[in-house]
Amino acid sequence: MKYVDEFRDPEKARALLREIDRLVARIDICRRRPVSLMEVCGGHTHAIFKFGIETMLPDAIELVHGPGCPVCVLPMGRVDDCVALAEMPGVIFTTFGDAMRVPGSRKSLMQAKGDGADVRMVYSPLDALALARKHPDHEVVFFGLGFETTMPSTALTILQAEKEDIENFSLFCNHITIIPTIKAILDSPGMALDGFIGPGHVSMVIGTRPYRFIADDYRRPMTISGFEPLDVLQSTWMVLKQIAEGRCEIENQYNRVVPENGNRAALSAVTRVFELREFFEWRGLGSIDHSGVRLRESYAHYDAEKKFSVPALRIADPTSCQCGEVLKGAIKPWECKVFGKACTPETPLGALMVSSEGACAAYHQFGAIRRQHDKATRDDAA
């Protein structure tokens, strides 16, 4: 398939792996411990597992699967708010499909649907707006979720609703921003990351400049990466090369898509519609300052949190759950106390087990090979 097969060429992969082996031999850290790289974005986590990239890399490289899966970092209280909105009479609650199974404290949206709430899967916020047009006697609420990647399409939908004067449409806004979150991870005690594979589609919107503090202030290299397996492998090679050469820069492997200054039209729609919240709650990571956005006052009539009364309760993560430690790379998914026992893809406790981009679900589904390999290595060492 054109434009796909080129990025999955096993010959090129083998050539890159040989280069990676050479680099690893030059990196001092690797003599003491594996070099630890975080892929921030859930899309990269998915590609790493889908194509078995972890099984191809040398043991001297450890990939830490970061917080860049918006479904995974959604706190329970926000899911409860979704359910409360969905269960209001006359409401059609619209959501992307992967948010359906995220557990709330009482139930998930999937269960709410089963109990009679009108919950509908959509593929775009514009689909939700179309439902509002079609059902003028209903209130259509769109569950806005995601980083800067999906923010522009939500913003444009709000602008479109305003243009058409559609009054029965509103947004339950859970959009979050990546930069404060990376900063929070870098500031967390015991942080042991040596470099980053940077988000691709977020960067398509925000450009490469906002990441500079990572290199300048925290002295960690980053390579912004595409999502095909060769992209990820080449980006891994690029970060390792920076480490081997003692450089800390924000490099752009995904320059076929990511411009240095981002997408001006998208950014302008986002800033017109949204403003930063003082703080936003993340599952596993707690409250992070300025890490979420809400609708500006001038668009408040589209804000579901103002239009309806939502419980807005803060629900603590289940105590047995170690999603936070997994997100920060402190433990591997299968080292969590409840992984594969109380927490499985059928009955997820933590959100990392829900989405196919979540590190735990990915390990559960694809990762037994790596797990066996790691166990064998540990047993050998013992």
Partner: protein, 359 residues
């Protein structure tokens, strides 16, 4: 050999009723003459066989006649709730006939008789119902199978979606055939009879939510002829299963688990149309989990691999057949895929459906 259910000894053929209204109403499920007319007009006239024509409460089979096909009965049932009712490459009727025939055939049975139960939502267009029944009749005639008994219910609007069908199938398994998921052994070859994922992609596309334009058609087909040819060529075959909901990934996992063996699959060997691949890429679906309605997974002993492949490819429904992997003594109960990129990954069971109501 002929296979006819016992026709009661009646001197003259009765006159069949007809329906003159455009849609099904609750009256058509009331048990009175309206229902009788609906059954006659739609089902009896389409299926057209003496056993059904009598409208007795049951079809009757002579044991001696059945015994000529083998030494064990195979009995299966399946319900069909696909949305939309008519889709590229088939409709709910063809699906209901082929699906149940295939469930018999993968056990090595010769399919002989089907039942047909229809649950109809009031308001369904009569012509749609007639078209579905005709499609069932065509599929059954093409497969040499008779639909000999049935039932019709009409329910209020909103209590079912347009039309649900159930078919139950009766077949006979030839002496000496013993197939089972638990029989796979390390070294065995894993084959499929053709291009994967077409039914799931066609249904999803036919719903129109994606606004994608493709020419993907459902692969819906009755496979008992193909399976019989395979069993002739590779009599040692261990296991056959149709890869419907959950796709080949699910079938391979069932085999690996039941036999406590590993199964190694090569991604580049799995046959797939480019447009199905592209469809999956765009929507983030995994084609290994997409439903098929005319594709079967075969596990055969290594020495019979080439004979099996040859027999499949010689059949019109197996031209694109391929060896996609092998049974190993690796991780028991696990399916491992060598990815196109050169890595390895586990192919696990899916928790839920990728897509609802595809069959």
């Amino acid at each position: 050999m002929t296979k006819t259910a016992d026709a009661p000894d009646r001197p003259t053929r009765r006159r069949r009723g007809t329906v003159h209204v455009p849609t099904v109403t609750l009256a058509h499920g009331g048990g009175g003459s309206a229902m009788r007319n609906l059954v006659d007009d739609v089902f009896v006239s389409a299926f057209d066989n003496p056993a059904l024509d009598a409208l007795d409460d049951q079809a009757r089979f002579g044991l001696t006649d059945l015994g000529r096909f083998g030494d064990r009965l195979a009995f299966t049932t399946d319900s069909f709730v696909v949305d939309p009712l008519i889709f590229p490459g088939g409709d709910i009727g063809k699906l209901a006939v082929c699906g149940t025939i295939n469930d018999l055939a993968v056990g090595g049975a010769t399919p002989l008789y089907l039942s047909c139960s229809a649950i109809i939502e009031e308001g369904l267009e009569m012509d749609t119902l007639r078209a579905v029944a005709r499609s069932m009749a065509e599929a059954a005639a093409g497969a040499g199978v008779q639909i000999v008994t049935g039932d019709t219910k009409v329910v209020q609007k909103g209590t079912c979606d347009k039309l649900f069908l159930n078919t139950t199938g009766l077949g006979v398994i030839g002496a000496g055939i013993d197939l089972g998921a638990h029989r796979c052994r390390p070294g065995d070859a894993v084959l499929v009879n053709g291009l994967l994922g077409e039914h799931g992609a066609a249904i999803l596309n036919a719903r129109g939510d994606m606004a994608l334009s493709t020419e993907i058609e459902s692969d819906c087909a009755a496979l008992h002829g193909l399976i019989a040819a395979l069993l002739d060529a590779a009599p040692g075959t261990r296991f056959i299963r149709d890869a419907t909901r959950g796709g080949i990934a699910t079938v391979l996992n069932e085999a690996a688990e039941a036999s406590q063996v590993g199964i190694q699959v090569t991604e580049t060997a799995t046959p797939m149309r480019d447009d199905v691949k592209a469809f999956c890429e765009i929507l983030g679906l995994d084609p290994l989990y997409l439903a098929n309605e005319g594709k079967v997974v075969f596990v055969v002993p290594e020495p019979e691999r080439e004979a099996a492949l040859g027999a499949l490819r010689a059949h019109p429904l197996g031209r694109e057949a391929a060896v996609i992997g092998r049974v190993t003594d690796g991780m028991a109960g696990r399916v491992v895929m060598d990815t196109v990129f050169g890595g390895q990954r586990i192919v696990d069971m899916l928790v839920g459906d990728q897509l609802p109501r595809i069959c």
